[in-house]
C-alpha cells in the first residue's frame, strides 16, 4: 500500500504539462484493410512511465509509430484526429522538429542497427542534426554511459549480446536528447538477464533524465515496479486505463483478453477464492509485494500445526519413465569454419517420448546444439546418434524423416501459394505416393487445428498461424522427434499457450519434443526435463522441479526461476514447499497448506 502512495506523490511533482496527447486518433494503413487505431484518446504526463499492453494486432505498435510521428507522416494511410507533443500539434510541417523530441526503440535490435561500430551507430543520429564534432563527442559519451555501454565504443554491434544491442539502440536514440522514449517490446527477444538490463536502463533514464517512458510490452513481470499507468489496447481502442493495482484487480478477466499478469498477481487472485483473509487486500504486482502479503498469512497457518508438510512437494513429482534413446550426443565439440568454438564437450541423451526444454542465454549454443540433431551441423569432434545411426552417415533429407526441425522465424521458410502446398512440400520431397502425402498433410493440418486455413496464402497469415503452419510442415514428415527453436518468441500469451497445448498433445500421443526457449515460464510449465546451457556447455540436466530450485546453476547461466518459484522459495523457511513450477501448483499447495 505504502509504495503506491509514494509513487503518486512523485507524480504530483511532475509538471501538469502533457508530454503526449492523442485526441480521437484513428489510422488505417494504406494496404492494411482494417483500421489499426479507432479513436484513441491518450494523455501522458511528463516524466510518467506508462505501459501499453494487449493482444497481438490490437494496434500497440501503430500507437507507438503515431506518437513518434512516423504515422502518418512517413507511413501512408488514412489518419484522423490530433497528436500533440509537449503542447505542439504534430503535422507535416512540425513533424521533423517534433520527431526530435520522441525516440523509438523496437523489438528486434538487428533491424534498427546499421552502423559498423557502436560509435558510428550513435554518431549517425547526431550528424543528421548537424551538430559540431565536439558536441557529438560529448553526447556520445553521455549516452553510452547512461546505458552502461561505454566500454563498447569501438565494437561492432554484431559482436554484442541481445541485451547489449538493445542498449546501443537505446543510446543511439537517447543521444538525440528526446523528451519521450517509446519502447515497442524492447525485451521480447532477450533472455532474463538482457531484459533486466534494458528495464533498469529505462527506469534510470526516467529518474535521472526525466524522460517520459511509453513501454509497449506483454511480458510484464520485470516492469511492474515502475509503471505509473497501465493501458489495455484491444482492436485499435484503449479499453482500460488505470493505475496498475486497479488494472490488475481482476487478473482472470485480463487473461481472457490475452494479457498475462505477473504470476504473483495471478496467484493472489486464485488464492483469494479459498482464503477470505485476502478479500479486500490489494493485489501484489511484484515479487516483494507478493512475499509481503503472503508471508504473514503462511506464518499464521503454520502455527496451527508444527510439522511442515513435506509430502506436498513429494506427491507432485512424477517419476519419468524413459523410453529408448532417440538422440544421443557423446563428447560433442563444434567449431565454425572460421574457428569460433560453439559447443564444448556436450553429452546428452534424449529418450523417446520425452519433453525436453533446452534453456540458456542468447548465444549460449542452444540453436547450434539442436542443429546437430537433424544433421544441419555435424560435430567437429564426438558423435551424435539418432536412433543408433550416426548423423554423419545420413543426409539432412534422410534425417528429416526422423527429426522435424522448426527454425526460429517462419518467414525463413514459407514460400507457397497455399497452406496446403506449403505443408505438402516436405512429403513431396520424400517422394511419397500422392495418397500417402495427402493423408499426412491433412493429419498435420488437423493436429495444428489449421485445416480451415488450407487454401489461404501462408505469407499473409498472422504470426501465430504462420507458426502453426511451419510446425505442421515438420509434422507432415511424420518425424519421431519434433525440435522447436523459440517457437513463441513473437507470440502473445494466449497464442503461446495455445501453440504449446497443441505441442503437448503431440507429446502425449508419443512424439518426443525438444523445445528451445529462453522463456522460463514456458519451460517450467511444459517441459518434463530441462537442459541448461551456458557458454557453449551443458551445465545441468534434470527435471524442472530440481533445476528451478538451484538458484546458483541458473545464475551461472544468467537465468532465473519463474516468479512463482522464486516466491515459493522465499516462503520455504516457513515450511512451504519450494519446488513449485506454476501458478496452478502454487494455488494447490497454498490451499492444502492453509487448510491443514
Amino acid at each position: 500500500m505504502s509504495c503506491f502512495e509514494g509513487r503518486s506523490e512523485i507524480r504530483t511533482m511532475h509538471s501538469s504539462h502533457a508530454a503526449v496527447e492523442l485526441r480521437d486518433v484513428s489510422f488505417k494503413y494504406e494496404y492494411g484493410g482494417e483500421w489499426a487505431l479507432r479513436g484513441v484518446d491518450l494523455t501522458v504526463r511528463e516524466g510518467e512511465f506508462i505501459l501499453v499492453t494487449g493482444p497481438t494486432g490490437a494496434g500497440k505498435s501503430t500507437l507507438g509509430l503515431t506518437i513518434c510521428g512516423l504515422v502518418p507522416n512517413f507511413i501512408d494511410g488514412t489518419f484522423n484526429g490530433e497528436v500533440q507533443i509537449i503542447g505542439r500539434t504534430m503535422n507535416r510541417s512540425t513533424f521533423r522538429d517534433l520527431a526530435l523530441s520522441v525516440g523509438i526503440v523496437w523489438q528486434n535490435p538487428e533491424n534498427q542497427l546499421f552502423g559498423l561500430t557502436v560509435e558510428e551507430e550513435i554518431a549517425f543520429g547526431l550528424e543528421n542534426m548537424g551538430l559540431p564534432e565536439r558536441d557529438i563527442e560529448e553526447r556520445l559519451e553521455w549516452a553510452l554511459s547512461a546505458v552502461g555501454m561505454s566500454a563498447f565504443l569501438e565494437k561492432s554491434p554484431y559482436e554484442l549480446s541481445g541485451g547489449q544491442k538493445q542498449r546501443v539502440a537505446i543510446a543511439a536514440v537517447l543521444a538525440r536528447h528526446p523528451a519521450i522514449l517509446v519502447l515497442d517490446e524492447p525485451t521480447a527477444e532477450l533472455d532474463p538477464q538482457g531484459r533486466d538490463d534494458v528495464v533498469k536502463v529505462v527506469e534510470h533514464l526516467r529518474k535521472s533524465e526525466k524522460i517520459t517512458i511509453i513501454m509497449i510490452e506483454h511480458r510484464l513481470e520485470e516492469l511492474m515496479e515502475y509503471v505509473d499507468t497501465a493501458y489495455l489496447m484491444e482492436e485499435g481502442r484503449v479499453s482500460v486505463q488505470a493505475h496498475p493495482t486497479i488494472f490488475f484487480a481482476e487478473p482472470d478477466q485480463l487473461m481472457e483478453r490475452g494479457v498475462r499478469p505477473p504470476q504473483v498477481t495471478e496467484f493472489f487472485a486464485r488464492a483469494r477464492r479459498c482464503d477470505e483473509r485476502l478479500v479486500g487486500k490489494k493485489a501484489p504486482l511484484t515479487l516483494s509485494e507478493g512475499i509481503e502479503i503472503f508471508e504473514p498469512l503462511i506464518a499464521e497457518s503454520k502455527k496451527k500445526e508444527e510439522n511442515p508438510l513435506e509430502h506436498i512437494s513429494g506427491s507432485m513429482e512424477s517419476e519419468a519413465i524413459h523410453g529408448k534413446p532417440a538422440i544421443s550426443a557423446q563428447d560433442v565439440f563444434f567449431s565454425y569454419p572460421d574457428g569460433t568454438e560453439a559447443l564444448t564437450s556436450i553429452d546428452l541423451t534424449i529418450h523417446s517420448g520425452d519433453f525436453v526444454g533446452i534453456v540458456g542465454q542468447n548465444g549460449s549454443g542452444k540453436t547450434t546444439l539442436v542443429k546437430h540433431f537433424n544433421g544441419l551441423l555435424k560435430p567437429t569432434k564426438g558423435t551424435v546418434k539418432v536412433f543408433d545411426d550416426e548423423t554423419t552417415m545420413l543426409s539432412v533429407a534422410e534425417l528429416s524423416k526422423r527429426i522435424g526441425y522448426v527454425s526460429q522465424n517462419p518467414d525463413y521458410q514459407v514460400f507457397s501459394k497455399s497452406v496446403l502446398e506449403e505443408v505438402a512440400f516436405g512429403p513431396r520431397n520424400l517422394k511419397l505416393p500422392e495418397e500417402e502425402a495427402n493423408r499426412r498433410v491433412e493429419e498435420a493440418l488437423k493436429a495444428m487445428r489449421i485445416l480451415h486455413l488450407r487454401d489461404k496464402n501462408p505469407l499473409f497469415l498472422s504470426r501465430a498461424d504462420k507458426q502453426k503452419v511451419v510446425v505442421a510442415s515438420a509434422l507432415a514428415m511424420e518425424p519421431q522427434v519434433l525440435v522447436l527453436d523459440e517457437p513463441t518468441n513473437a507470440l502473445d500469451f494466449i497464442e503461446a499457450t495455445n501453440l504449446l497445448s497443441l505441442i503437448e498433445d503431440l507429446n502425449r500421443a508419443g512424439r518426443t519434443v525438444v523445445l528451445v526457449t529462453h522463456d522460463m515460464l514456458l519451460a517450467a510449465e511444459h517441459a518434463r526435463e530441462i537442459v541448461v546451457m551456458s557458454q557453449k556447455r551443458i551445465i545441468a540436466h534434470d527435471t524442472p522441479r530440481k533445476i528451478f530450485v538451484r538458484a546458483q546453476i541458473l545464475r551461472q547461466a544468467s537465468l532465473r526461476p519463474p516468479q512463482i518459484t522464486q516466491m515459493a522459495m522465499s516462503l520455504s523457511h516457513l515450511g512451504f514447499p519450494s519446488s513449485i513450477l506454476s501458478v496452478e501448483e502454487m494455488t494447490q499447495a497454498y490451499r492444502k497448506f492453509i487448510r491443514r
Partner: protein
C-alpha cells in the same frame, strides 16, 4: 568491380582476373574470407550457362532441339560472362576484405559524391553478410523439410530455387522497411540544403589521392576506348 561489364574480350577478363588474384595474394586474404562472396557462384553460374549456352540464337548452330539451340557464340558468351562474374565477385571480395566500410564511404565522399549515394552504398555493403546469413538460414529450414538442393538437376534446380528465393525476398522487404523507419527515426534528411556534419572524418593523404586519381584515369581510358574509338578491350 563493375569494369568487366565493359569488357568484350575474354583475354582482358582473364588478365584482370589474374591481377585481382595477385592482389588477393599480396594482401594475404585467406580463402575463407572471400568464401561468402563466392557462394553465389553455385547458383548463378549454372543459371547463366543454361541461359547463354542453350538458348542463344546467334552464331553457327551446333545442336538444336525444339526451343533449345547450342551455338558457338552462345558457348563463347556463356564462358565470357562466367569469367566476368568471377572477376566482379573476387574484386568485390578484395575491396571488402581489405578496406573498412567507413574508409570506402569516406573515399566516396572525397570524390564529392552526394551523401545519399554514399549512404546507399554503405548500407548495401553492410547488408551483404546479412543476406548471406539469411540465405544460409532459409536453406537450412528447407533442408530440414527434406529438400535436397545439391542433388537436383540443373533445370529443376533453377525452378526449385523459388523455395529459397521467395523467403529471401520476403525477409529483404521486411528488413528494408525496418531500416527505412530506423533511418527516419534517427532524423536522416537528404537534399542540398540539409546541414549535416561528419564525426571523426578521415582525411586522405597525398598517396591515397594519387591512387584515387589514377583509378579514375583508368576508368576514363577504358570508357574512351569503348565509346570514342570503338576499340573493344
Amino acid at each position: 568491380m563493375i569494369m568487366p561489364f565493359f569488357f568484350a574480350s575474354i583475354i582482358t577478363c582473364i588478365v584482370t582476373l589474374a591481377i585481382v588474384v595477385v592482389f588477393l595474394m599480396l594482401a594475404q586474404v585467406p580463402f575463407r574470407a572471400v568464401k561468402p562472396f563466392t557462394s553465389i557462384f553455385y547458383t548463378l553460374v549454372p543459371m547463366m550457362m543454361i541461359a547463354w549456352v542453350f538458348f542463344s540464337r546467334h552464331g553457327t548452330t551446333i545442336f538444336a532441339y525444339g526451343p533449345i539451340s547450342v551455338t558457338d557464340e552462345g558457348i563463347f558468351s556463356g564462358a565470357l560472362n562466367v569469367v566476368k562474374l568471377v572477376v566482379m565477385v573476387l574484386a568485390t571480395g578484395l575491396l571488402l576484405t581489405t578496406t573498412s566500410q567507413r574508409d570506402i564511404i569516406a573515399g566516396f565522399r572525397k570524390l564529392k559524391l552526394p551523401y545519399s549515394l554514399c549512404l546507399m552504398f554503405a548500407l548495401a555493403l553492410r547488408f551483404i553478410p546479412s543476406v548471406y546469413n539469411d540465405y544460409e538460414q532459409v536453406k537450412s529450414a528447407q533442408m530440414s523439410r527434406g529438400f535436397e538442393f545439391e542433388k537436383e538437376k540443373l533445370v529443376t534446380k533453377a525452378i526449385k530455387f523459388t523455395t529459397i528465393l521467395i523467403p529471401m525476398l520476403v525477409i529483404s522487404i521486411q528488413k528494408v522497411e525496418y531500416l527505412s523507419i530506423a533511418l527516419d527515426s534517427r532524423g536522416l534528411r537528404l537534399g542540398r540544403n540539409v546541414v549535416r556534419t561528419f564525426y571523426k572524418d578521415p582525411q586522405l593523404n597525398s598517396r591515397e589521392y594519387g591512387v584515387l586519381g589514377s583509378a579514375i584515369m583508368l576508368v576514363i581510358a577504358i570508357l574512351t576506348f569503348k565509346y570514342v574509338f570503338h576499340v573493344l578491350l
